[in-house]
């Protein structure tokens, strides 16, 4: 969705990141994020898809420095924020903002919207009072909220308006990166469409880099340039958004895609429905081998014992599944099914769809 082509410079470098909670000696260690690597280019919208318990929110919090990694690391524009002192980190973090799902929880009910939006600048100690106010009004305008909203209290405005104000506040410190954690999940579809348009427009205006976290495949694939699919603390597949969604190379992505209810009756009929059995396993006792093997419809013996390595199958497409090559072969053979073109330029469109 981003308009300017993302540059080659990276805004975020995530290298073998681990985030764990709990106590290993008491056997209650939860590896919420377990060895995740990817990089986000400047000006890119990077989507992270996953169900509850996949570790996507933990990842998001770690990306902006709200949680410290227990292994591996994150580089912000080449700098390791976790080596900073507390004070330096607080300064540095201004450029890395997070917007979370519930706009109701994000505002102090006793502060007006204007006060809440000015707060980041007050804390940072930037500008005079008048300058801060002026900037706040400018930001309200940017997120299409009228100036009269400024003096209202959170309970006096709708959920969609609150989420806009939430974004305005995140923009106050001119961030480089914004992590959006399920920002549209609590909104009605018509409002959700408005918000997605707003995100795209702001990205264009400010040259922002987003990490867009959501459980909603449609939302993520609509807005993102590239997506990563997470399952149980690991990235199982990542690559260009359209390619990953249309021609998944991991059985989990395939199942997610198929579980998404389809509105178009023709597309629904063309699609094979895969209903996964079981639920995400217990976080304390992860399954051996491939973590998806307990629910995978394509499971074989090797999956139970050996963990699949992430590898690049096609330019820019990384998959961690023992049988990804096989799936790729099937896709190529079947001419990519519904995703490909028709007839003559089949082969060409097939390659395009995959990368």
């Amino acid at each position: 969705m981003s308009v300017g082509a993302p540059s080659e410079e990276t805004a975020l470098d995530v290298n073998d990141l681990h985030v764990s909670f709990g106590n290993p000696r008491r056997g209650s260690l939860i590896r919420a994020v377990d060895g995740v690597s990817f990089s986000v280019r400047k000006g890119e919208i990077f989507g992270v898809i996953g169900e509850s318990g996949s570790g996507k929110s933990t990842l998001g919090r770690c990306l902006v420095g709200l949680l410290s990694p227990s292994g591996g690391g994150v580089l912000h524009d080449g700098v390791d924020p976790f080596r900073f002192s507390r004070r330096e980190l607080n300064r540095h973090r201004r450029k890395y903002q997070i917007v979370s799902q519930d706009p109701n929880a994000a505002f102090d009910p006793r502060m007006t919207i204007l006060q809440s939006i000015c707060e980041p600048l007050n804390i940072a100690g930037e500008g005079t009072r008048a300058e801060r106010r002026e900037k706040a009004f400018a930001m309200l305008d940017r997120v299409s909220l009228s100036a009269e909203m400024a003096n209202r209290y959170p309970h006096e405005i709708s959920g969609g308006q609150k989420q806009r104000a939430n974004i305005a506040r995140a923009l106050m410190l001119d961030p480089n990166v914004i992590v959006c954690d399920e920002v549209v999940a609590a909104l009605d579809v018509s409002i959700q469409a408005d918000m997605l348009n707003l995100f795209a427009r702001l990205q264009e205006q400010f040259g922002l880099t987003y990490v867009f976290i959501s459980h909603d495949l449609r939302v993520v694939s609509h807005i993102s340039d590239r997506v990563a699919v997470m399952y149980f603390g690991k990235i199982v597949e990542f690559g260009p958004a359209h390619a990953v969604i249309e021609t998944p190379l991991h059985p989990y992505t395939e199942a997610l895609r198929s579980a998404e209810p389809e509105i178009n009756p023709a597309a629904a009929e063309a699609r094979q429905r895969i209903i996964l059995q079981g639920e995400i396993p217990s976080a304390i006792a992860p399954p051996s081998g491939c973590r998806f093997h307990t629910r995978c419809p394509r499971v074989r013996d090797i999956c139970r014992t050996q963990e699949p390595q992430q590898r690049q199958l096609l330019p820019g497409r990384h998959v961690a599944c023992h049988f990804a090559e096989e799936m790729l072969g099937d896709r190529e053979k079947s001419g990519l099914g519904h995703a490909g073109g028709n007839g003559a330029d089949h082969a060409a469109s097939a390659t395009n769809a995959l990368t």
């Binding site: 579809v189 018509s190 389809e262 509105i263 009756p265 996964l276 639920e279």
Partner: protein, 343 residues
């Protein structure tokens, strides 16, 4: 049960027939109308989708059918015909014989519908013993069978657990088991999968539709997810600001919506098969209940709005055969050429 079955099948072939239902609720600042002339019907074994955004009145319609509203602070008008009875005028004790037995309901958040201090097995037994003459043992056996029927792997063990011991998907399975244990004729499912992950949602929908099919239960399926409606319902109605604005067979409505609001909802959903870019959205927001527009309630947000829209809009019916009947609350529907999905 027997009596009910006869009256409905002999009388007319609708199971639930809501006619001109109005509902007003009272808060600190007085009475406010929440539902305005809602008419809809569910046939035996049919799955009816009710769609609309938050605040459109879809849950209020469901609560009205089961009369789960505070009696002093709510006023119902119109008729809710079910099994030859008008539920609007039923006594509380008559309602108790209907709730859970002939009409049951599944809520969005199973945790708030299950009692945290009783085991799930006990809660299912309670429903059974309320409606049938069963001793505890028989009821317990049937509760375990019900848990088994919703695909719970070790039903005997799960029956002894408390709601807090279960995951969201498992709780929703328990809710379904409880709702269907008396084999009701109508199940009202209010956003039953909204709080669940998509892969679990797919499991639960599959289960729900399979069980309803087996027991011959009709479903009034309330959701904001048009995809789920497209996938599982026979007919649908769209609600907006306390009114039904469109109704008809799901396939027809999706391929050719007649109300601009239905069309707007259909197009505001990101679709991976469509070119990316700006998503069409519906400008503005739902009007406040106290300040309803005088004419068409959707008028202020409608991109087709013009002079005649300032008059109140009536539901217009079309189609002779009852099954294919479509209805729309828009004076201009014949002139508008609204685009559907997949047509």
């Amino acid at each position: 049960m027997q009596q009910l079955a006869e009256t409905t099948t002999a009388g007319q072939d609708t199971l639930l027939d809501i006619q001109n239902l109005t509902l007003s609720l009272r808060d600190q600042s007085g009475w406010v109308e929440v539902l305005n002339n809602v008419s809809l019907s569910v046939k035996p074994k049919e799955i009816l989708g009710v769609v609309g955004e938050s605040g459109c009145g879809k849950s209020m319609t469901a609560l009205s059918v089961l009369r789960l509203l505070p009696p002093r602070d709510s006023r119902l008008g119109g008729k809710i015909m079910f099994g030859g009875q008008n539920l609007v005028s039923c006594s509380e004790s008559q309602m108790n014989g209907i709730r859970g037995r002939h009409i049951s309901m599944i809520f969005q958040e199973p945790m708030s519908a299950l009692d945290p201090v009783f085991t799930v097995g006990y809660q299912i037994e309670e429903t059974l013993r309320r409606h049938f003459k069963l001793d505890r043992r028989e009821a317990a056996e049937r509760a375990v069978a019900a848990l088994d029927s919703v695909g719970i792997a070790s039903p005997r063990r799960v029956a002894t657990l408390y709601p807090m011991n279960l995951s969201g998907g498992m709780r929703q399975r328990v809710m379904i088991a409880m709702a269907l244990v008396c084999e009701p004729r109508l199940l009202i499912a209010d956003e039953p999968t909204t709080a669940l992950d998509v892969t679990i949602q797919a499991q639960i929908m599959d289960l729900l539709l399979g069980l309803a099919d087996r027991t011959g239960t009709a479903i009034m399926f309330i959701t904001h997810n048009l995809g789920l409606v497209a996938q599982s319902c026979h007919r649908m109605v769209t609600m907006y600001a306390g009114q039904v604005v469109e109704g008809g067979p799901v396939k027809d409505v999706i391929a050719g919506p007649r109300h601009p609001y239905t069309a707007g909802l259909l197009h505001s959903i990101p679709d991976s098969n469509r070119a990316r870019g700006t998503l069409p959205s519906i400008a503005g927001r739902v009007p406040s209940l106290r300040h309803m527009p005088k004419g068409c309630r959707f008028g202020p947000r409608c991109s087709y709005s013009m002079q005649p829209c300032e008059l109140p809009q009536n539901i217009e019916n079309e189609g002779v055969a009852d099954i294919d009947r479509r209805e729309v609350r828009c004076n201009r529907w014949e002139e508008l050429e609204l685009r559907g999905v997949g047509a």
